[in-house]
Symmetry: C2
Subunit: 338 residues, 2 copies
């Protein structure tokens, strides 16, 4: 074959898609070949709050310049807060139940004058039992990533088309999936409540983080965490009372300063799990999706409570972006993922 | 009677005692005659956190200078955070059950070189059902004030020697009294949780306070408050989830920005009431003690929920300081209050 011939897009390691995980505080970019292999990854601290005056295009082109220089027409798919009202353009929420087809057919178009295909993944909204609305934006891509990854590993029978995914974080999400579609979700303000109490309340004044190299202090912090988890789980309705116990347990020196942040975290996560478990019932075993540290913390809580759980994956956003792009026809469908 | 004769301490309007309500953010001073009549009141923003380098004596003598100039030997009784570890001197907690006699016999002495009698009221601690410890410091004086005021108004039969007092605030307290003794208490971090979420979380970004002169906006805020109270009360164990609804109800414009702070407040107070009601049972009717605005807010919540309640008094600290001083023999016992 002559050297001047166009490269075959089907060949492994040939870039066919850019995926963007663009959240509030960071921007991650993935370069994929036609088989979903991640060829390269770039990262910048240019979350949507850090991009001045809506200069999102400049931020994207700046980070991905090496890839775009090689091929300016690479299609792009982005998920996360970039599609929120505060982002580049609002990508309206898809309504649950929402599966690959619903999401892929509702991508928002942001194609530029140069003809580059640019798509935003919509978030998902679902009605709550109380008639309110719960939402997610970015986490739906992680869930689809986990589903896609699972489809590669497990037999495609009906049992593996359902699932309960737990995405711990600032706003922790519990997501129920039936037949590969997101049917319900429930968000908890757990991480953010911890952060504001830790950093801005009287509880924080008593708290100190254990030194990273102090194994004994880390051990004691985990013991306090376990107690917090059990108490929060036993009395989730008493949470506002239990939070004051962080103060008194410190005041009476039952917990040291370096145990108190873990105790506080345990109370909140224990209360979250108690409510979420009641919400989702016993039928589905939760699979944790998220960073290793946070997923481990939730896994420890569930284990302490005697509840079954598994860790799905540390990072599913890349897999999710690729899988949605395949369903949307942004890349040649050589490998039907799901 | 010759003009040079010493004034009769028993005469009305003759000062016999200074009472100090000395908290974290403010210092209030009361001047009493022998009948507990408040002759004068002074106030400064010199809460214990605002007094530099432990110069509490200077702060006290500065505020009360006019009274001390007339009579440097006036006895002083103080309650609140001034008796905490961060205050002038720690006044160790009295253990529940604690009545007037237990408190009066455990006042901490802080008498100065000039021979002035200066006493600190101890806080009260009680074991929780979980084996932890709950505490109050300052609120016990309000409870004793409410009990003393009630004794003047109501027949002194057994029924009026019991009570359930609710002291809303940064750290809201529910206090069970039997036979004029504090037997149990339960603290909720309600006010502080509201403040940190309102001021430091993503929820606060959606919030705006209704203009004080906008009657319609105030009305709408109260309606949102009522809904929050009902939801928080119905699902106290789902509080961390309900908090996220403040965001989505704002996002989908079901509540306006000026309704959201009230909705958030309602969720928290509703969850507090649900748990406190389960804790204290149905036997005692709660009496609210506190500032008119905050007590009204709790009274509205209890009314919305169909729960009985009364407002005990706007301000009971002065009455409490005087009643404890009488029991401790700091003033002649002309009028046995309780």
């Amino acid at each position: 074959m002559p050297a001047s011939a166009a490269p075959d897009p089907q060949s492994p390691r040939h870039p066919v898609l850019i995926g963007l995980d663009w959240g509030t505080t960071s921007l991650r970019a993935y370069l994929f070949d036609a088989y979903g292999t991640e060829l390269q990854r770039l990262q910048a601290s240019q979350g949507i709050l850090a991009v001045p005056e809506g200069r999102f295009r400049e931020a994207f082109e700046g980070l991905c310049a090496p890839w775009l220089a090689a091929d300016p027409s690479l299609p792009v798919i982005a998920s996360g807060m970039i599609g929120s009202r505060q982002g580049w353009r609002e990508a309206p929420y898809a309504h649950a139940p929402a599966g690959f087809e619903e999401i892929a057919s509702r991508l928002s178009r942001l194609d530029d004058a140069a003809g580059r295909v640019f798509r935003l993944v919509p978030g998902v909204q679902a009605s709550t039992q109380m008639g309110a609305t719960d939402v997610m934006r970015g986490e739906e891509t992680q869930v689809f990533g986990a589903l896609a990854a699972r489809s590669l590993l497990l037999p495609a029978d009906a049992a593996h088309r359902d699932g309960l995914f737990v995405l711990p974080g600032t706003h922790s999400k519990w997501v129920e999936v039936r037949d590969h579609r997101i049917v319900a979700l429930r968000t908890y303000l757990t991480g953010e409540t911890f952060a504001v109490l830790r950093n801005h309340s009287i509880l924080g004044r008593l708290c100190a983080d254990p030194a990273a190299d102090d194994a004994e202090a880390q051990l004691h912090a985990r013991a306090a965490y376990d107690i917090g988890v059990q108490q929060g789980h036993a009395q989730p309705g008493a949470l506002l009372h239990l939070l004051f116990m962080v103060r008194t347990e410190g005041l009476f020196e039952r917990f040291s300063a370096s145990q108190l942040p873990a105790y506080l975290s345990g109370l909140l996560i224990g209360a979250e799990i108690a409510d979420a478990w009641a919400w989702c019932g016993d039928e589905l075993q939760p699979a944790l999706v998220g960073s290793t540290e946070l997923a481990s913390r939730y896994a420890r809580a569930l284990h302490t409570l005697g509840l079954p759980a598994s860790i799905a994956s540390e990072e599913c956003t890349a897999e999710g972006l690729f899988a949605i792009a395949v369903h949307a026809g942004l890349v040649p469908n050589y490998l039907k993922m799901v």
